[in-house]
């Protein structure tokens, strides 16, 4: 972990992630205190990307657990390789030797949580969209997040050699348990202000000049102000910037390129219709 918050911010910036002071403080504290970090925010504001970039900054392996309804311990933690155990038993029988233990390391299929615990130099563990998993799964995570240990009945308790840096993300589609929240630091990632978003866009769409980036960001902010079904996130605005850049490079005028590639920014038919109704004020025709 970088020694101080400024260094952390600089290193994240070098990797293309421009975090504001709130997020930097939360990430820094999570590293210093060794606590999991729960990130919430609307889709597309860069929650998952924090973990990706952190893994690069810290030089650790990124291990991702994508949550979904029905996710259970065997998919998150470990499972025994039963067919392999059976084959081993058969082979021993044929060869006339003792089969030995069937719950050995070689028969253990490690899933993301166990892999994160066993990563020699620590890992960045991303538990993505925890709100999609069942609430029972949250309860199951409590032991893991409190002590970074898990118990496999046949093998005993396994503790992390080096605690993983855990990032949990949630889109707030349901309320998380207090017990889980209590164990985490919390940060809500808001939409960035215009200045920060312009810097992000310029970082992600190389070659885009300052004036054009400012114009795009102004349009994005005006669009976010409309009554949309889904407001565009940073990911969408960066991809729109690249789209506009490409079309402008082919000879389209700037407003025309913005209008033609608006589908990269808003993804609902109703929203597109709304944006085109406000084309003059949004695209500055």
């Amino acid at each position: 972990m970088p020694a101080d918050q400024e260094t952390l911010g600089r290193r994240l910036g070098e990797e293309g992630y421009l975090a504001d002071e709130g997020l930097l403080t939360a990430v820094h504290l999570a590293g210093v205190l060794g606590l999991p970090l729960l990130l919430e925010g609307e889709p597309g504001v860069g929650k998952t990307e924090v973990a990706n970039v952190l893994a690069r900054v810290l030089g650790r392996e990124l291990i991702r657990l994508q949550c979904y309804e029905g996710l259970d311990a065997s998919q998150a933690l470990y499972e025994w390789d039963y067919p392999k155990q059976l084959l081993s038993l058969r082979a021993a029988e044929v060869e006339g030797r003792a089969a030995g233990g069937l719950y050995r390391e070689e028969f253990l299929l490690q899933r993301p949580l166990l892999r994160a615990l066993r990563a020699a130099s620590g890992a960045v563990l991303l538990i993505d969209e925890i709100d999609r998993a069942d609430s029972e799964f949250e309860a199951f995570l409590l032991e893991f997040l409190s002590d970074f240990q898990i118990t496999i009945p046949e093998l005993g308790t396994i503790r992390a050699a080096s605690a993983p840096f855990v990032v949990l993300t949630s889109n707030r589609t349901r309320e998380l348990h207090d017990a889980l929240k209590r164990r985490c630091l919390y940060h809500w990632i808001p939409f960035p202000d215009a200045e920060r978003e312009q810097a992000i866009i310029q970082a992600q769409a190389p070659g885009l000049d300052e004036r054009s980036a400012a114009r795009l960001v102004a349009a994005v902010h005006r669009i976010r102000g409309l009554a949309l079904l889904k407001r565009p996130g940073i990911a969408e605005s960066a991809s729109w910037a690249r789209g506009v850049q490409a079309l402008a490079g082919e000879g389209s005028s700037w407003p025309e390129a913005m209008r033609r590639s608006a589908g990269l920014l808003v993804k609902h038919e109703e929203d597109l219709a709304l944006v085109s109704r406000h084309a003059a004020e949004v695209f500055g025709d």
Binding site: Q5, E21, G22, L24, T25, A26, H28, L29, A30, V32, L33, L35, L37, L38, E40, E42, Y68, E69, G70, D72, E79, W80, Y82, P83, Q85, L86, L89, R90, E93, L102, N171, R172, T173, R174, E175, D178, K181, R182, L185, Y186, H187, W188, P190, F191, G225, L226, A227, L228, L229, R231, E270
Partner: protein, 369 residues
């Protein structure tokens, strides 16, 4: 301990106490984390301290509404604090078209009830009276019938079962240990069926006054016997009433709503209320793949555009969209009011429900489909 350290400690303790007094409950463990974080990082300025507190003392975005002003009182303005973002632009804040000051465009036909719909909220509390003996008998029937009537969906989770396309390798191997490695029985796994989520959106506006209590009792029966059900009421605003309806006794549960549903027997803003529902990502998840039942006469004031758009989106989100209206109990009813004719294309079934008996008939129809 120096005097300055003691004063600083008292200041931080006072801040934490004030947070609690303002309604932000911070458990001791989190308070300890806050103090550890201060010690570990040594905050540079008030803004840094603000973010340390935000990360350690809050657990959701709403907490910032208490945290930020309290912090400001104790530590002064900490620079650019985040503004509270709405889930979506506050379109609802705009007066409903045709509202105050605009001439009232009366619904063309559809019974007398809707003509009394207004934009204003009522001033007195509604009284959802007790259920009659007859009602209770029908409720018992409903509880029995509802479980079978709700459409089923296959779970994504695989469970051990007698039949199924997947071999339960774990179980087969475990059992084979007992038989010296011989596989005697092949065990299987399948994806069991379970009820779809049910979403009830109940109109409690003045024009629905006669039917609201019966609808809420129906919702109570649904909450009591279905696995996954969510209930909202709407008149001029949206209210989630699932939790109060979990009370076992029907009169107690429905009676308690008098204190919660503040817009009952008031005006009608169907479109904006449904849009309020759709603007909340958490609520939208409740509608996704669900059996959505709207219990309303569909008599919207003013511009029907928001209502049409909201119903269309609800229909796209849900599995099926049923619209139950008391007006359709009249065989002569035709959905030709501007609101109903606008949403008709998005509705899967339009049916007449005015009380528990007619609701029971519709539930039976649902079971037959």
């Amino acid at each position: 301990m120096t005097d300055l350290v003691v004063r600083l400690r008292d200041h931080v303790q006072g801040f934490l106490r004030d947070l609690r007094d303002q309604g932000l409950r911070v458990p001791v463990a989190r308070q300890r984390t806050f103090l550890r974080a201060i010690e570990a990082t040594g905050p540079r300025d008030a803004a840094h301290l603000y973010w340390i507190g935000a990360a350690t003392l809050t657990t959701c975005r709403d907490d910032l509404e208490v945290y930020s002003p309290t912090f400001e009182r104790w530590f002064g303005q900490a620079g650019a604090l985040p503004a509270r973002e709405e889930d979506s632009p506050a379109e609802d804040d705009v007066p409903a078209p045709g509202g105050d000051g605009a001439p009232f465009a009366a619904a063309s036909v559809g019974g007398q009830a809707g003509l009394a719909a207004s934009h204003s909220e009522r001033e007195s509390r509604p009284v959802f009276g007790p259920a009659s003996q007859d009602d209770r008998a029908v409720l018992a029937l409903l509880r029995r019938e509802l479980r079978g009537a709700v459409p089923m969906v296959r779970s994504r989770r695989r469970r051990p079962g007698r039949r199924g396309p997947w071999i339960d390798v774990a179980r087969v191997c475990r059992e084979s240990w007992r038989n010296h490695g011989e596989i005697v029985t092949v065990r299987r796994r399948n994806r069991p069926r379970r009820q779809r989520r049910v979403l009830l959106l109940i109109d409690v506006s003045g024009s629905m006054k006669e039917h609201s209590a019966a609808y809420l009792r129906f919702a109570h029966a649904a909450v009591g016997c279905l696995d996954r059900v969510e209930v909202f009421t709407f008149g001029t605003r949206l209210t989630r009433v699932t939790e109060p309806l979990r009370a076992r006794e029907v009169d107690l549960a429905v009676g308690s709503l008098s204190e919660i549903v503040l817009d009952a027997e008031g005006g009608t803003r169907i479109g904006p209320s449904l849009q309020e529902f759709l603007a909340n990502a958490r609520y939208v998840t409740m509608a996704r793949g669900a059996l959505v039942i709207v219990l309303s006469d569909g008599l919207e004031r003013g511009d029907c555009g928001p209502m049409r758009a909201a119903v269309r989106r609800l229909s796209l989100l849900g599995h099926r969209l049923l619209w139950w209206t008391p007006l359709a109990c009249d065989p002569a009813y035709r959905p030709v009011t501007r609101g109903m004719s606008a949403v008709l294309g998005s509705v899967d079934t339009l049916a007449g429900v005015r009380d528990l008996r007619t609701a029971y008939e519709q539930v039976q129809n649902l079971a037959r489909e």
